[in-house]
Each structure stands twice: as C-alpha cells, then as structure tokens.
Amino acid sequence: MTQETAIPKPLPVPDEASRPFFEGARAGRLMLMRCLACGTLRLPSRRHCDRCLSPEVEWVAASGRGRVRTFGIMHQRYHPAFADDIPYNVTVVELEEGPRLPANIIGIPNSELRVGMEVVVDWEHHEDVTIPKFRPA
C-alpha cells in the first residue's frame, strides 16, 4: 500500500540513553530501566531514577504483557505519513510491571478496543529501528 514516494513515518533514532531499549526491541525483548538503589522500574529512558534520583541503573526484560490504560481514535491529520491510517488508535499501554508506553493496538478493529483489555507486545521491524506495538493477548 505504501508508495515509493510516500512520506516516511517519524520513527525514532536510538540515542545513547535509549540504545538498550531499541537493541532489546530488535531482539524481541521489551526492556525497562531498573534503579539499582531503590528498585523502581522506569520508562522512558533517562539518567536519573524519578523516585530516588540515583543514576545507578540496569536494564531488565519486561514480560511484554500489559493492559490498555486508555486510547483515542485519531481523525485529525497531523502528519502526512499517517494520512492513510486515519482513523487509527493511539493507546497508552500500562505494562504488567507498572511503566507505560504510547503505542498502537494492532490485530483488531478500533471498535473492539476497550480500556482494561489485556495486550501483549508485538514488534514492527523497520530498516534501522524496531517499534513496539501491542495486540490482544
């Protein structure tokens, strides 16, 4: 469906702080930061723990399971790369471990989306980056 001339989607470029997240995504693992001082899990990637401000951190794999916390259906055309997707869902997924991610739910029509629905991560591979999507569990 995508034409050669289509405007590309604004996909992220991994930076130093987020590289373990995107390397994990490439390998099919949803990675979280875990504070070594207090154990708090966090996303998105950042140097300091937002609970205790410690910079000591490790990356751990999450289960990849979560729930739809809330969602919206996008009808407004904000970016030309999404014009053909309208109406599409933008969903906040609350991971089993607590942190939240913006994503799209794939594999079901928007009309079947529900708050609280159990979902599991899926991966959308692009040439140089992999993006988490979610589908019904």
């Binding site: 992220p12 933008v90 708050v115």
Partner: protein
C-alpha cells in the same frame, strides 16, 4: 483567624487587545497595547508601575526585552514566567505575594500570543510533535511513531479513561459545550456567538475521539494584561477592585510513572485545599466558576477536583444546564476558551475580573461574591487558581 494575605491585594486594571485572527501586530506590540489599556483602565500613571511579570504563549514571542520596549525603568519586580496554562493565575499569585512582602506596589501581569498565521490552519500551532524533526532522537520518538501528536491527544486519552471508569457520556461533554456557547452569545468579545444545540455538538467532526471539534478550544492571537495592587490603594483607583481572597497551585507530575492517575485526578485537588483554606470557604460558597477549558473534559474534571461534586459524578453534575445562564453554578460566563477567546489562563481570569466588577452587561451574574478562577496546563500537569471577590473581606 483570617489568613493574613486574604484580601491584602486586588486586581485593579484589565487590558484586552482585539483577539482572534489578529495579524497586524507582533506579540510584543500586542503586549504593549494590553499593558497601556490596563494602566488606563486602572487610572494609574505608567510611572506607578513597578513590577512586570511576563508570560509568552505557545508562539514564544515575548522576552524580558518587553520591559525595554515599554520603557519601564527601575522596576522592583521582573520575570518571564511559564507554567503553561496555569501561568496567568500564578503571575497574579507572585505579584500578590511580592506586594504583600513590600517588594512592589503595582505589578503588571501580561500574556501575549500569536499562534495563528495568515492562511494557515489553527491546528498548525498546536500540532507540536508533528512539527518535530522527521526522526526524533530517543524514546520520545515512540510518540511520533505511534501517530500521537498535538495537545488534543492526551486530553482525549484522559476523557476516555474518565468515561470508562465512571460512565461519563458524550452528552455530558456536549452539555458543557452548549452551556458555554449560551454564555458566549451574550459576550461581545466572543469569537463564536452563534447558538449551538446538542445535535450540532454530536454532528461536529471528530478530532481525536472521544473529542469532537466542539470539545476543543479556539486558537487566538492577542494579549491580555492585568494589574495587581495593594488593597489599601485599590479602592481609590478607577475601577471597582477585585480582591484576591485565595490562591493555590497543584502539579501532579509525570503521567508515565507507575501509579499515576493523571487522567482523572488533577493538580486542582491540591490547589483547591490551599486556596479554600486561605479564603476560609468551601465549594458551596462559590457563586461563579471561571475554569480553564482547553477542552470540555477539563471543565468536568476540574469541577470534581474542587469538590463541587464527588469524583466520577461530574457528568451527571453538569446535566440540565447547571453551568449555563440561569443554572445554579454559572461557569465560564463569557463562553470560555471553547467559544470566546483562547488567551491561556487569561481567558478565565479576564472574565472573572469582569464578573467581579459587575461589568458583564447582559451576561452579568447577579450573585458574584465569590469567584473561582482556575488555570491548567500541560497534560493536566500544571494547575493554579485564584479565589476572587468584589468585597475586601
């Protein structure tokens, strides 16, 4: 014992430029116009202004250089402030505290914004992430990769969660849109003055479902300035003083953190406690609400968080025209940001001053002893409020 700052300061001047599709002046020029209008409105001389607090809107057109442009010399208070839509209320708070501390006497608080460009849609101004680099660096790019853009999206997400948790209906948001338009019909300053029905509301196009076009605020160019003065001097100035009885802020923090209920429990809960305690009142004492209404949903959740009804009952609470003309809780009596003009927190503040002065003309609410004025910014992230009154004590 009454709080020592309750009624210690008052709003003495209000200046408003033309608002909406105003293209012939820069943000700085608009701000200077509003300041001149506010000084004249108060009956002060320019030399009597000794404080300047500046808030630039989304277009970021104002700088500290506004002092020099306006030729204010030897100011005793100056700052460029930004806590998004909560800034207007916050500027009045800091002005009030500085006056009470003896640091300044007559402080101008000014907001100006020029998000609209001739020939471009209003959505361009608030598309934000859509204007970001084509390949954002880091995890913020997960938003753009998902097609999550603009300010409309997080508010749609918040509204959806409220609907799911509490059974809030689309009609409840519609009630707010219709009520506010009824007020706007009576406001000569309002940009949208044609009455709307619930059918019109439902027929308006989706922006981000569950938000229709008529759930979303306007985007306007323009400027508003207000002047805060000591209560002891306010009564001798040109306008009826609008006294500051209560002030509060609340900022809940990161909406991605585990456990956050940012969608349905806002910083208004914290601000309400502080401001009501300072004013020595509760929600039952409020006669008029001027609530920040970037979206209909913002009004609904703010009413809950100030305790006008229980959490989750905002939908049924707004039914039956309660907020509209003739309703028991007149709210956003100029039409608000949805129907009148979008000057961030200056929208509710300017209408609160007009109602406090009894200058609302056809839309004036008879009982105006206690006016609650709120500001909200970010993704329900920042909240500031004022409790205002035409009475000194």
């Amino acid at each position: 014992m009454a709080h020592p700052l309750r009624g210690a300061t008052a709003i003495t001047g209000l200046g408003m430029t033309p608002m909406g599709r105003v293209f012939d002046r820069s943000a700085t020029e608009l701000a200077a116009d509003a300041i001149a209008l506010a000084i004249a409105d108060a009956g002060l001389r320019k030399a009597e202004i000794d404080g300047l607090l500046i808030n630039s809107g989304v277009s970021q057109g104002l700088t500290l250089g506004l002092q020099n442009y306006c030729g204010f010399a030897d100011l005793k208070l100056l700052n460029l402030m930004n806590a998004a839509g909560s800034t207007a209320a916050q500027m009045v708070q800091y002005a009030s505290m500085a006056i009470s501390a003896g640091m300044a006497r007559n402080v101008v608080c000014v907001f100006a914004d020029t998000p609209l460009s001739e020939g471009k849609s209003s959505g361009t101004a608030y598309g934000m992430r859509a204007n970001a680099p084509s390949r954002p660096r880091g995890m913020v790019g997960l938003y753009t990769a998902s097609g999550y853009f603009g300010a409309n999206t997080p508010y749609a997400l918040a509204a959806r969660r409220h609907m799911d948790l509490y059974g809030t209906k689309q009609d409840h948001f519609g009630e707010i849109a219709v009520s506010q338009r009824q007020w706007a019909v009576m406001n000569p300053l309002a940009q949208l003055r044609d009455p709307i029905t619930m059918e019109d509301y439902h027929a308006s196009r989706w922006i981000v479902e569950p938000l229709h076009l008529l759930d979303c605020c306007l985007v306007s160019n323009g400027a508003v300035a207000v002047i805060v003065s000591p209560a002891s001097e306010a009564k001798d100035l040109r306008q009826p003083p609008v006294y500051i009885h209560g002030m509060g802020q609340g900022h809940p923090g990161d909406d991605n953190r585990a456990g956050s209920n940012w969608e349905t429990e806002t910083g208004a809960r914290i601000a309400a406690r502080t401001a009501f305690a300072m004013a020595g009142i509760g929600p039952a004492d409020v006669d008029i609400c001027e609530l920040y209404d970037c979206y209909t949903y913002t009004v609904l959740v703010t009413l809950e968080d100030y305790g006008f009804c229980k959490k989750g009952e905002g939908g049924p609470f707004v039914e039956g025209g309660r907020l509209g003309p003739g309703g028991s809780l007149p709210t956003n009596t100029g039409g608000g940001e949805l129907s009148a003009y979008y000057m961030w927190g200056m929208t509710p503040l300017s209408e609160a001053i007009i109602q406090g002065r009894g200058a609302g003309g056809e839309r004036q609410v008879a009982k105006n002893n206690v006016i609650l004025c709120t500001g909200n910014g970010g993704n329900l992230s920042y909240h500031g409020c004022l409790i205002l009154s035409p009475h000194a004590s």
